[in-house]
């Protein structure tokens, strides 16, 4: 009950205000996944001599079949901040082959008329709970917060992801090609996040895992952990309790990491496996990227202090409603901010939200990301970027629409450690491409075609059965996609 103060479960997460809604929902105890086979890139194999075994839970993602595709004569945002007029984009073998003028048509290529259309890199949502808080949202499906103790670094959100979530289709229809799924924010250490492809016919989450994407660790500042645990008369109950909780846990992880390293160097036995410390050791050695839910400027500054004390990197602050107050510090630290365009006021740590947060962070030269944290918002992140751009420009900045697009693809790719694979239309990158009906920094544009690894995975208006098994055979299956 500590999460809600409500007498009944809210029956929906459908809202522009996802975090608010989740806070009101009942805390649902996620079942800890069976981890008997757990192993990952950060972990010494349980049988170091057996090189034929693939790592447990490894990606089995396979790009869908594709043909060489040339989009001709479109307005192109390259994801690096440049806009190209009347440009061609060529996708071949799942990769961007070229962008430019008057590209030759390879044999057998599909040619798409781009006249009047806009082409962008696929959108990357750096903060999603799709699959872990799927539709329909009922108690049994609310699977994203292992709110049983303040440190659950041992859980992996991918073990809560339901691949049949109808939200994945809606996300793709909004131009999403990559999603970073995170556990919730009830805990100081919420568990491992996962970077996914929204593969609409996937039956297993492994089929959705972005190949070789680093895992992440979710941490949380502020009101949520102290409310959840303070409400149970346990620690943390305060902001100072939060910080003590982080620091003691990192101290423990440092000791664990040192013993692991010593054992690898032939100095003593490795410690007994501890899944919680294993995750945190992965952050300390740089293999797991830290994603930290934090609203207030002063709390972000405290988090940065902790990162210096224990010598780890913070990839991004999430929600980061007050990043505009410390934008220079965030630039110096090289920390991204994953932000909403205009959410505010739903709790006291969001009280100082302003519409210019994203553009002010951008203007300072820090890494700005537009994120959703919402199964509704994820469907139109382009509109959120449009708002932020326009508000920044009204405040006297000069941000182009192609620059604004870096908040949707290149910068989130950077925060997730996949910037060499996706996020821009540079030659050699995965061909994650969206063809928009009009200027996508607009309320009226819709994604007409979405390509993932060069394969057409979504086409507006194409008749088809709903890809989610959940939606198949409902009384009314015809629905707008």
């Amino acid at each position: 009950m500590a999460l809600c103060g409500r007498r009944e479960p809210l029956h929906m997460h459908s809202s522009l205000f996802g975090e608010r809604m989740r806070l009101r929902a009942h805390p649902i105890i996620a079942l800890a996944a069976s981890l008997g086979l757990a192993a990952c890139a950060t972990t010494p194999s349980t049988d170091a001599n057996d090189t034929t075994r693939r790592a447990a839970f490894a990606s089995t993602y396979q790009p869908a079949a594709s043909v060489p595709t040339l989009i001709r004569g479109a307005t192109v945002f390259d994801g690096e901040g440049a806009e190209l007029a009347n440009a061609d984009v060529l996708m071949q073998d799942g990769r961007i082959a070229a962008i430019g003028a008057n590209l030759a048509v390879p044999e057998g290529a599909a040619v798409i008329d781009g006249a009047g259309r806009f082409v962008t890199p696929g959108i990357i949502d750096a903060h999603s709970h799709l699959g872990a808080y799927p539709s329909p949202g009922i108690n049994a499906t609310s699977d994203g917060n292992e709110a049983t103790q303040p440190n659950t670094a041992e859980v992996w959100v991918e073990h809560s992801v339901w691949p049949q979530d109808p939200g994945f289709l809606r996300a793709v229809a909004g131009g999403i090609t990559t999603l970073h799924i995170l556990p919730g924010s009830a805990n100081l250490f919420g568990g491992r996040g996962v970077t996914l492809r929204p593969v609409l016919d996937a039956v297993t989450v492994q089929e959705m895992k972005f190949p070789d994407a680093p895992q992440t660790l979710k941490m949380a500042c502020g009101e949520n952990p102290s409310r959840v645990y303070g409400g149970r008369n346990s620690s943390p109950a305060t902001g100072m309790g939060n910080v003590a909780g982080y620091r003691q846990a990192w101290a423990n992880a440092q000791r664990y990491a040192r013993r692991l390293e010593a054992a690898e160097n032939g100095d003593g036995e490795p410690p007994d496996r501890d899944l919680e410390l294993e995750t945190m050791a992965g952050v300390l050695n740089g293999e797991i990227r830290l994603q930290w839910h934090c609203y207030r400027a002063d709390e972000m500054a405290n988090a940065i202090e902790i990162s210096h004390e224990f010598d780890f990197e913070i990839a991004a602050f999430h929600h980061a409603v007050e990043s505009y107050k410390i934008a220079d510090m965030l630039r110096e630290e090289g920390i991204c901010s994953a932000m909403w365009a205009d959410w505010w006021g739903f709790k006291i740590e969001a009280y100082d939200g302003i519409r210019e947060n994203i553009p002010f962070v951008h203007e300072a030269g820090a890494c700005a990301i537009v994120h959703s944290d919402s199964e509704v918002g994820v469907q139109r992140l382009n509109q959120e970027a449009a708002k932020a751009m326009a508000d920044g420009n009204r405040a006297g900045l000069d941000i182009s629409r192609a620059e604004a697009w870096t908040w949707l693809s290149r910068n989130p790719a950077r925060a997730l450690g996949i910037e060499n694979e996706t996020g821009t239309l540079a030659a050699g990158r995965r061909a994650d491409v969206v063809v928009w009906s009009a200027d996508p920094l607009s309320s009226y544009a819709v994604a007409e075609r979405v390509y993932m690894d060069g394969a057409l995975v979504y086409e507006r208006g194409a008749e088809r059965d709903p890809p989610s098994d959940f939606e198949l055979g409902q009384t009314y299956t015809e629905r707008a996609q």
Binding site: R24, P166, F346, F470, E471, A480
Partner: protein, 416 residues
């Protein structure tokens, strides 16, 4: 300009400004009425009302002339459902008058008694072109959500336009959950409540008491149970909507409007025939609950095409105290999914006024309407647009809020 606005605001807080005579010259005037959109139109504001709308209106002596230069000039937006003014902060254990946790009053809850025109969200919303709102608590213990109010967002002490404006009723999953977990219990409870209300005060004075309502709730519910006020009913599924239509047919004196209606497109013709308006959220397209399995993005367009009166606002569960300004984005998305622009703009201005019974005063730029007028820097349904001027009853509102003050405090230095 911004500095000036700050000064204007300081003065405005000290003394409410008087309505000026203002001629807005040469705009793209969205009248929301028979005249449609007037290109190169003028709007004259006198004594807080629209005095004239048309081409080439002469400026009266002493009138202030605002050059619109082709910009959109529209009626103020009307938030068709909101918690505006009911809390400063929704969560964090802060006081929140939109969240009622008690059994003492239900139908009798009076939103007007809780509205505070000075909460910061009112100014935050006003500067985005929203000038009026229908407000009510979103979370209560009862199937009755209490009496909603209509408010002006001018921030002045007298800005409640109408109390007792409508009665919120939950008759879907939420209502069922509040009455024992089942519609099978909810509907008999609803009907019994209406009987209690109609028989107020007789059965209470006789000592018999109500079957399901206490005396104060019966008193508050009575005018609605007698058809003198509108029930705003939260339902989502086609099945629940059909129950409302049938119930109204059997009780033709009662007045209903629907809020939610995710599956309303499936019963669009019946709703049109029953003249039951629907307040829809054009972003609801997920089977987020079992009463929304057939939600789809073109719900608003399909309802409009069938002749249903629609307004656009966040769905139940998404209604909040801080983001009523997003009504314009919702309407723009309805356009992206097939709703004609004029109908979409009307659905956030004219039709809410009509549904809530103030359509003769608000929602149009026509002679004698209250002068709630907004001038925009672009298409108001585009997320990139914002007002350049907002008038409420002829009084120009400073485009200043706590958020703009924070923005100006932390604005990056120029030419960094």
């Amino acid at each position: 300009m911004r500095m000036l606005s700050a000064l204007v605001m300081a003065l405005a807080i000290a003394t409410p400004a008087a309505a000026q005579t203002v001629l807005i010259n040469d705009g793209r005037v969205v009248t929301n009425g028979a005249a449609g959109i007037i290109e190169n139109g003028d709007v004259l504001l006198v004594d807080g009302r629209i005095s004239a709308v048309g081409a080439n209106i002469a400026a009266p002596r002493g009138a202030r002339v605002v050059e619109a230069r082709g910009a959109f000039v529209t009626p103020g937006a009307f938030a068709a459902m909101s918690e505006l003014g009911l809390s400063e902060i929704s969560g964090s254990g802060a006081p929140n008058d939109a969240d009622v946790d008690g059994d003492l009053v239900a139908a009798a809850m009076d939103s007007a008694a809780a509205f505070n025109p000075t909460v910061t969200a009112v100014a935050v919303t006003r500067i985005e072109g929203v000038t009026r709102a229908a407000i009510a608590p979103s979370s209560t213990n009862s199937m009755f959500g209490g009496r909603g109010a209509l408010v002006s967002l001018d921030g002045q002490p007298d800005s409640v336009m109408r109390a007792n404006a409508f009665m919120i009723v939950e008759l879907g999953e939420t209502g069922a959950a509040r009455v024992g977990g089942s519609r099978a219990a909810m509907w008999p409870a609803f009907e019994a409540a209406l009987r209690d209300a109609r028989e107020y005060p007789t059965r209470y004075r006789s000592g018999q008491g109500g079957a399901v309502l206490n005396e104060i709730d019966a008193q508050a519910l009575q005018p609605f149970a007698r058809g003198q006020g509108m029930f705003l009913v939260h339902v989502e599924s086609a099945a629940d909507i059909r129950r409302i239509i049938r119930y109204q047919r059997a009780n033709p004196s009662l007045r209903f409007a629907i809020h939610g209606g995710a599956e309303a497109w499936q019963v669009a013709d019946e709703l049109a025939a029953a003249r039951i308006p629907v307040i829809v959220d054009p972003l609801v397209n997920l089977p987020s609950s079992f009463e929304r399995l057939s939600a789809r993005l073109d719900n608003a367009a399909l309802l409009n095409a069938a002749g249903v009166t629609i307004a656009i606002a966040p769905a139940p569960g998404s209604v909040d105290a801080h983001q009523a300004r997003l009504a314009l984005q919702l309407a723009g998305n309805a356009v992206a999914n097939g709703l004609p622009w004029d109908a979409a703009f009307a659905a956030i201005s004219r039709t809410p006024a009509e549904i809530f019974g103030v359509g003769g005063q608000l929602g149009r730029l026509e002679r004698n309407y209250l002068a709630d007028v907004v001038i925009w820097d672009g298409d108001p349904l585009q997320v990139t647009s914002a007002p350049t001027a907002v008038f409420i009853e002829g009084v120009e509102q400073p485009l200043v809020s706590r958020q703009t003050r924070l923005r100006d405090r932390y604005r990056p230095t120029a030419n960094r």
